[in-house]
Structure formats: structure tokens, C-alpha cells
Assembly symmetry: D3
Homo-oligomer: 232 residues x 6
Amino acid sequence: MLAFGAHPDDIEFTCGGVIAQETDAGRAAHFVVCSRGEAGTHGAPEQRVAEARRAAALLGATVEFVELDGDSHLEVRAAHAITLAGVLRRVRPGIVLAPSPTENQHPDHWRLGRLVCDAVRLARFGGVRELRESAPHGIAQLLFYAPTREAEPDKISPVLIDISRPEIIATWVAAMEAHGSQTSARNYVEVQLTRARLHGLGAGVEYATALFPADPLVFSSLSGLGRGTRGL
Amino acid sequence: MLAFGAHPDDIEFTCGGVIAQETDAGRAAHFVVCSRGEAGTHGAPEQRVAEARRAAALLGATVEFVELDGDSHLEVRAAHAITLAGVLRRVRPGIVLAPSPTENQHPDHWRLGRLVCDAVRLARFGGVRELRESAPHGIAQLLFYAPTREAEPDKISPVLIDISRPEIIATWVAAMEAHGSQTSARNYVEVQLTRARLHGLGAGVEYATALFPADPLVFSSLSGLGRGTRGL
Amino acid sequence: MLAFGAHPDDIEFTCGGVIAQETDAGRAAHFVVCSRGEAGTHGAPEQRVAEARRAAALLGATVEFVELDGDSHLEVRAAHAITLAGVLRRVRPGIVLAPSPTENQHPDHWRLGRLVCDAVRLARFGGVRELRESAPHGIAQLLFYAPTREAEPDKISPVLIDISRPEIIATWVAAMEAHGSQTSARNYVEVQLTRARLHGLGAGVEYATALFPADPLVFSSLSGLGRGTRGL
Amino acid sequence: MLAFGAHPDDIEFTCGGVIAQETDAGRAAHFVVCSRGEAGTHGAPEQRVAEARRAAALLGATVEFVELDGDSHLEVRAAHAITLAGVLRRVRPGIVLAPSPTENQHPDHWRLGRLVCDAVRLARFGGVRELRESAPHGIAQLLFYAPTREAEPDKISPVLIDISRPEIIATWVAAMEAHGSQTSARNYVEVQLTRARLHGLGAGVEYATALFPADPLVFSSLSGLGRGTRGL
Amino acid sequence: MLAFGAHPDDIEFTCGGVIAQETDAGRAAHFVVCSRGEAGTHGAPEQRVAEARRAAALLGATVEFVELDGDSHLEVRAAHAITLAGVLRRVRPGIVLAPSPTENQHPDHWRLGRLVCDAVRLARFGGVRELRESAPHGIAQLLFYAPTREAEPDKISPVLIDISRPEIIATWVAAMEAHGSQTSARNYVEVQLTRARLHGLGAGVEYATALFPADPLVFSSLSGLGRGTRGL
Amino acid sequence: MLAFGAHPDDIEFTCGGVIAQETDAGRAAHFVVCSRGEAGTHGAPEQRVAEARRAAALLGATVEFVELDGDSHLEVRAAHAITLAGVLRRVRPGIVLAPSPTENQHPDHWRLGRLVCDAVRLARFGGVRELRESAPHGIAQLLFYAPTREAEPDKISPVLIDISRPEIIATWVAAMEAHGSQTSARNYVEVQLTRARLHGLGAGVEYATALFPADPLVFSSLSGLGRGTRGL
């Protein structure tokens, strides 16, 4: 599994619980962070990189930094999409997580979401000259995460991932708090736990994270759909 | 699994392939048909009832008829929702299939969809006086089917069910053709196979049926999401 | 051409210009008015019926009254849809005009829009017992009109009908003013002319009326599409 | 008529039937192709250019290549919009076809769609310094085509163009098959014929292509609207 | 201010904080409850009525019961809208609160929302025969409340009402807990406080309630708009 | 209050009445115009700048020109957003007006709207290196204006600002007519007055301007909401 983040703490805050659960089940997770958070109000870039490394380790994930235009300077350029497609061909993930391309949020977030959308297509094409060295790769799923409620895509039905196990929540909180430069300044941990609690209350579990599949899910039988929230 | 249809052929035409596949895997299916199709241009009611019984048998399903207001006369009445809730409490299904409540289709279709939405709620409530004899029941999933493309809900992302196995398609076609009073009059079989082929082409399989979950799907891990259509 | 109105003045105010133009070109127009406006603040029912007759005559149209539940009492009943389907089979129109089924407007308006949607389907079905005396009829087009801007359907792209010829506007205004019980109480004429002027300014003509086709338009060549508003 | 395509086969696959019908009726068609398809998995650029020329000839159209950023490298730049506006001023078309600007598709497609939107505006403005040599030009209609169903604009009602005549379908298929580098690799022809058959079934004809007008259609009378799909 | 509720606890759970704040500021509040909650799983009707009376008293509001079709039996009937219009003419409120007419919720909720929409129109019309005894009344604002997140109208931008003052929250919680038959069975209080906290976090305050104006707000200057959530 | 315009006349035509009313009430207004209108069909850049200065003076506003890419050449670049964020930090407004980011309009308009969205975020961030000299600033409200009806955001409910006072309308018209190079060529004044009249008719006043808040409005009591259009 591969997760993209525009800033050092985006992945952890928005889907750290899901990732903790995946790695706890023995599945590999890799983070690609596209800036060092240098435009933020709090935290020097070196500190933020260190926080990201520590948070990834807590979540059982590896992390790399792929610099594009810098924090708060990201633009939607074909060259960036090709760079990210190259990462996809190297890491060859099944599931990819990226910020939603919904525009009502931090400009780096939706632009990275758009770039990842493009990158997952380019990674499949055989003739892109910058990528000729690497074998094409088609991912299994692109799932969007929403850093805030305003960033939730309004055209895509969410899927809710149950992350209720106490040790998963504890790991998630630890990973968020590893970003001490941010959590000491504002109540980001409470925001995300409140969102996860509300999704959990809707799903009839303790905590849940909403993710938004870029494409329709394909199942081989109805039993694969598990249950919905209707039973409540 | 319980499927509701407004007319004797609705279930077979729209999700016969999915049902054939479920019963083939050993899961039970029951149909509730809410009219005898007596307003249609072709086929006497007795013939249509017989066709429905034969089609259900071909699909490995049982069928019952629950008369509400009659073909083309259906209204959204609380009494009907309570009647259908009573059926839900008796059959006690996990998954429920119903026509989408999207209004741009045969008026009986969307009204039945709306009634089923209400019924799955009422089936859970302990105090509905007409239902006091039966134990409350919460279903696992309500999935809408769309008799035509115009009836696909525009607010819900579809899930695609792969129904490519040749014997499944053969069973589905047989069940559709069991409605000879209809298939001899218009090319309904071709319409549905063309839709399923187009969904299949999008999903990278031979044939697929699109269903629309009324509520967010809840998963306990990302691996439950299977794959999307993005890999194509 | 057949136009449905919930109250004696609805057709004239919302699409009187279009109708004047059609009848001026020699095409027949018939109005079906489903109440006598008896719940309005101004005008006795007899006066309103007389005004409607006079307005229809000015527009070159015939008019009949089909009482359903009465002004401000309309409900969506299967029996009403069948009644209107019977009218459709008798009049056998190509184009049908009806108020939009968008709910944010006078409750009679959207309910009549919904009933007409159902009626145009029922008029085609061979087996509806109440309609067995009359031959099925399929219309060519169902076009919605919007009594107010809030009533414009947000899922349907409008088509703009150019009604700029001064004699057409004059006839339209005369037909609106024939409803003196209403126009003496509020500035309805100005509202509708302002809307038509704004649509006209958008279309590069003097005045235009927006209509909303219930179904996709089918053309046999691109030249049928005329021009869009893009050239401005 | 002028059609824009991002890659050598886009126009033929998505609206070849419509174009065959227009040229068959004696109307001129010109294609502007904005890359040589060099990033695709199959087919060398020279081969693809040759295929495009042959396909255009089969459709009775002329074709030119306007290189922008190259296949899979297209960006939304003001300079590109001005380049395309220059083409519009030179060719001076009435109807313009372009890929939809809906983002859920190949990144070159929606970006070209967006650029063409901008270009049709710029072509009308008198003071754009790069365009001062040419006379401003306002087109009659901008119609979007959708390479896949996901690319269909969800805010615009489609119009369906009946392309059922067997010789038109034969010409369309021949033009698609002229792109042998692509059709030998995947079943693109079947995909497009299946889509056209489904649209045709909805419209009551053999085959139809859905197009999406960028702006409201303006008609001078209701008779111009032809018929809708409601009659079926 | 007049608030409508379908069941004895709807108003308190969804907008009790807002009401506490209004009555605390000296503005009158009246509740109209349209069933005795007799279909619920928990609580006898008499108990629920008593709970509603106590909760209203805690909120500083008066309450009356207007029986329509009974809990879980509500239908959209013209007669009900006229009954509620009669209440509006008697109480003559400025602001009206009602459940949203969004269909994805308890069937009584959205139907009551729809009925109130109709009632506020009918209350203005001079000629409705059942209402002739009372003077027409136009309200100032109709605001929808959403009992659950799924019930939030997706076409209306929310306004957030800051209810952060501790004594307001305390009163709200007390009013919710007055419905002990419900709160002892499920964690409804936590659900609503979590929603209010999340809205508050979005608005930069402690707690907020989202309401959805049925119609555009009219201001006499920009200074009336206060602040948005953008500053955060 | 700070208003951004892409061309010398955009602010005046779209929200000149609102601004006249604000300055009349003693609140300061500043305009930032991002081109000299040099791509337009009519008016030399110097003339247009002079017209803008005169129009601003008539409205009681100050004006500055911030050149970005030039008229009809605007691109969405991070550098531009940072430039505009610098302006926000210098001017430190409460309310900000900008063109809507809806794409169906002049390409400069929606791009400037998008840039302003980004700029209001960047203005708050402490670490943006180009902005280190200036203190972060959070605005109170971002309100979009729509140069044409097609540019109205379809996801945001409008608020209507009553601008009915005759002296306000007179000042607005004077400010529009100060752009004689444009008003002598097309009927822009009529277009805007017709729009304002239609909004006014909907709001029950003489004239109104629709604005679209980028974020939910936050109120401290229901009495802040004033009245809606429902009372009509």
C-alpha cells in the first residue's frame, strides 16, 4: 500500500488509523511526502521531517520525501505527474491513498490529489519517454482521503473502514502526536478523533475512517459487500 | 437474500445474473413481486405470474406475490411500507434488492424503491402496532438496482458485480426468456445484455451488473475492497 | 401541442410567448387546467375561469378544465395520473408542456409535474384497465416549464426558445393581462418579462423562454442543433 | 465543422459515426489532433499519424496536427488556448467538437477540453495581441464528446445523434479499424459500438452518439426540438 | 419561533442548543410535535409525551401535540399541510424550524419537512377554504434541521449557529436527557454533541449547530453576514 | 473590504451596487485589478485604466493594479496566489470579494477566483518564505460574485444583498457608465440591472445582488439571519 501526502503530517492525521490496522495485519505501507512543510506556521522543516519519520515508524510504514514545488507552491504540472508515476512503477502498490482532488481545501492537497489521479494513469502507459526504463504498472485501487469535511468529494459515496480496536486508535494517536510541532499549536488530534467517532457512530462501531474510491468497486459476489450502515 | 420487484419480470431483467450467481454459490434468494403486471401491453396476468414462477425457479429462487395497489397504480402509502416491513420480519434477509427510488422511470418502480427504504427502517422499530406480532429485524444491506440507465441514482457510486461466468449468463438469459410475453414483444434481453456488457468492459470482465448501495459500505480492512476499475 | 397548468394562469405566465408563437405558425395548442384557482388571495373561481378562457383565446389555444383535488389540495395519486393519461390519449399531442417536478415551488405545481410524468408513461401502456377504451399514445416530447427560477430543474440543461418578435411579446402580455385579478395585485407581468429578457440577453436575442426537456433530444444530424449561446 | 482530438484516434473512436454522417450530407469536417500518440503502449508516432490520416480520409475529413506539449504531457496554458483560438479563426467553423472537460479520464482529454473552452472565447476577443492578424470569430456551438462513460459531463443533458444508417456504421467501423495499432491491442471498437448501441436502444433507433452542448441550445420554435426519447 | 418535530424528542436532539440560546435571549419558542412516538422501540406514548413536556420546559419553550397519521405512519397529504398552515396562522412565528425534506432518513422526518414547506406557502394564500377563519401569515425564514448527517440537504449551504456558552450546552444536554426512555437505550446525546463539536471545530468555536435555510438569506449590508469559517 | 477583478470593469459591473452601499455607510473599499483589459475588443489599455479609476472614485473606493499574466493570459500559478496573499496581508480586509471559480465563464475570471481562494489561505500561513516580511492575516469572509448567470456556483446557496435605494442604484449605474469604452459597445448596463431586478423581485425588494459565500456563515443567534425570501 502506498500513501501520498502533501505535507509531513497529512497521511497520519487523515488515515493513520487505517494504516496502523493494515500494517498490524502484516501488509506493507509506504509513504511518499511531497514537501517538508516549510510554509507552515509552526515547526522548522528539519523538525517536521524528523516527526514524519518517527510517525511513519510508529505506524509500521516506510517513508520517502519527493520534493515537487515546495510547501504551498505546488502546481499541477505534467512533469510532477510523471515523477509520481515513476514512484508508482518503482513501489508497485495495489492500493494507493491520496488527498481528494476537491478544491475547497489547502491548495497543495487537491493539487496533489489531481497529480496522483494523473500519475496512476501514466504509470500504465507504455510509451511515456521519461518512464521507459521502468515496467508499466496498474494499481488495484485509488482511494481518496479527506483532510477536512469540506474536502470530502461530493460525487463519490464513502466507504467506512472500522478502526475501533483500542490498540489501533492508540497507535494512530501516537503517530499524530509525533507531530508535536503541530499538535502543540492546535487541536488537530481532537478534530480527527471527533470525525472518526462520528463516522463510527454512523457505522455502529467505535471509530471509523471514511475513504472515497476513485472508481467503482468490483466484487465477485454480494457477500463481498459486507454490511452497510443500514442495519442500525 | 430478498429481492423486491414491482412487476413479474423486473427482478429477472435487472439483476437476474447476480441472483443466479448467489444461488449457484448456495445462498438462498426469495423474490417478492408486488403486482401481476396486469397493466402491461402484453401478457395476461395469469401468464405473467406463471412466467415469474418459472423464471424464479430457473434462478434457484422462491417467489411470492404481495399485492399492493396493482400494476401502474402503486402509491407511496404508510400501510404499504408496513406491509413490506412485515415481509422483511418474516423472511429476515441480510441483503435486500429493490428498484432505485430515482423518479425518472416507471412510476411503480421508484415508488416501490421508496417504500422498501421506509420498510427496512420500520422493520427495526419495536413499537409499530401492526407489526407487534413479529420480532424486529435489521437488514445488512439495501442495494438498489436500476431497470434503465435513467434510473441509476446520481448520488450513489455504483458497485459492479462480476457475472462473467458463461453458465451464469446462460441462466440469466434463460430467466429473462421465461418472460416470453415480454421478450417476444421487445428486445429487452438485448438491452440488459448490452448494459451488462458495457459495465463489464468498464470493469475489465465479460459482464457486470451495477448495484447502488443505499448506505456507505463498512469494511474491516482495505483488503475487503477488492479491486476497482482503475487498473484498466 | 398540449399544455398542463395547475391554476388558471400558470400556462400563460410561464410559456405564453412560446404558445403564441406556435399558434401563430399554425400549430394547434390545447390547455388543460387542473383547478379554478379558488385558493388564491385574489379573484373568485368564476372570474378566474373566465380569465383563463379569454387568455387562451388570445393565445389561439383551446382550454378545458380537469378538476383533480382542487387548488392547493393536489396530491400525487395514481388515479390522477390515469385521468391525465386519458386526456393524453384523447388529445394525442406531440409536444406536452407541464410544470417542472422540482419541489421548491407551489405544491400544486411540482405535483402536477410529477403526475404528468407518470401520465405520459401510462398513456403508452396497453393494459391499464381504466384506459382500455382508448388507444395507447406515445408523445414526442415532454418539456417542463418553470414558474419561478427556483423551480428550474437543476439536472436538466435548458433549451431557449426565441420569442423576440414584437407581435409575439404583445400577444403574450395581453394573455397575461387577461388575468386581471392577479396582475392588478402583484407585478407578475414584470417578473416574467424580466426573466424572458434575461434569457434573451443570454441568447443574443430580445426575449427567450427557457424550457427543460424531460428526456434527451434526438437529432438526425448536427445541423438540427441550430446554434447555442456560445457565439455571444 | 471542426473536431479537436488529443491523440490520433480520439475523434474517430468517440464521434466517427457523427462525422461520417455529416460529411455524407455534404458538410465539411476538419480535425485538429494535438499529439502524435507517442506515449501510448502500442504504435510508433509515425504509424499513428498515418493511421489518423487514413481514418480522416475514410470519414471524408481533412486533418492537421498541432503539437502542444506532447502526448501525456499536456498542460492548461494560456499560450495553448491562444494557439487553438488561432486555429479557430483560420478554420472559422460553425460547430466545434472537443473532449469533455470532465476530469475523470485521460489527463490530456480533459485538459484539451478545457483549452478549447477557453479558445472559443478568445477567438471572439478583438484585442488578444498574438491573434491581431486574424479576424475574430464566434462559433455556433461547442459540443463535448465523452471518450468513456466516466467522462460524460454530469451537469449537461446529452443530445443523441441518430447514426443508424448501415453505411454510416460501416464507415465509422472502418475509420476505427484504420487505427490498427490500437484495435489490434484492445477491443476499443466493441466498446464504442456497445455504447452507441445502448444509446440507440434508449433513443429507439439502431445506434446513437451522445454529445453534450457546452451552452443552452437556442431554437426559434418548438418544432425544432424534434422528438425526445419519451415516446418509447 | 416555531419548531416542528415528528416525534417527541426530534426538536430537542437536533436543535435544542439553538433553542436554549434563543429563549435565554428572551425570544419565545413554541414546539409542535406531530406524534407521541408510539412506534419507537422504547418508551410508552404517555411517558414520551411527559418527557417532551419536561424537555420543552427546560428549554424555555411551550409545546403542543398535533396528531397527524401517528408515528411511522405519516403521509404527505394536502389535509396535513393545511392543518399545519392553520397552526402557522395561529402562532404567527417569524422563524420556523422543521426537519429537512431529504429522503434518506426516518420517513416521518422528511415527510414532515415536506409538509411544513407546503404549509408555509398555504399559510400565505387568502383563499384556502379550510383556513378562511384565520388571517394569512408570511413567515420570515424556514430553516431545516438535520436529525442525522445523511439528512443534511445537499443543495443548501449550511449556516452555523454558535452555541458554545457552557450554560447553553448544559441546558441542551438536560433537555436531551429529559428523554430518558431514549437516552437510556442508545447514545443519542453523544451523537449530537459529537456533531455539534465537529461543527464547532469547523467554525472556530466550541459547539455549533448547522441549519439549512430553505430560501436565500436577504441582507441589507455586507456587515450582516458576520464572519465565515474562512478565517480559520 | 477588498474586491478583486480580472479586468478593469469586472468589479463595477458585478457588484458595484453593493460597494456603493458599503462606502455610503462609511466602510472602506479597495479594488485590486489584475489586468488593464488589453485583450478586449474595445478600449485601449490606458483608457480602460482611466475608466477604472474614475469608476472606483464614483463608488468611493480606492484602486490599484496588480499585473499578473495580462488580460486573457492568466494562469493558475502558485506565484500569483502568493502575490495576492501579499496584497491581503498589506490591506488586511475583513470581507473579500472575488469572481467565482466556476469554469463556465471568461478564463481569467474563474482563474482569478481560484487564485484568490488559495491566497486567502496562504495569507494565514506563517512560513511562506516570500511573505515572511508581513504578518499573517485571516480574513472574515470570502464572497464570490458571478459576472454572468452561468458563473454562479451551483454548490453554494446565494445570499441576496438589498441595494434598492435609488441613490445606490444611481451611483452603480454611473460607475458602470464610467466604462464608456465597454458600455458604448454592448448593453452591459442593461444586463446587470436586469439581473439585479430579477434578484430583487425574488427578494421582495427593488434590486438585489447575489453573492456566494465560500464558507458557511457563522451566526451567534437566529436573529442574525434576518429574513429569507420565503415570506413572499
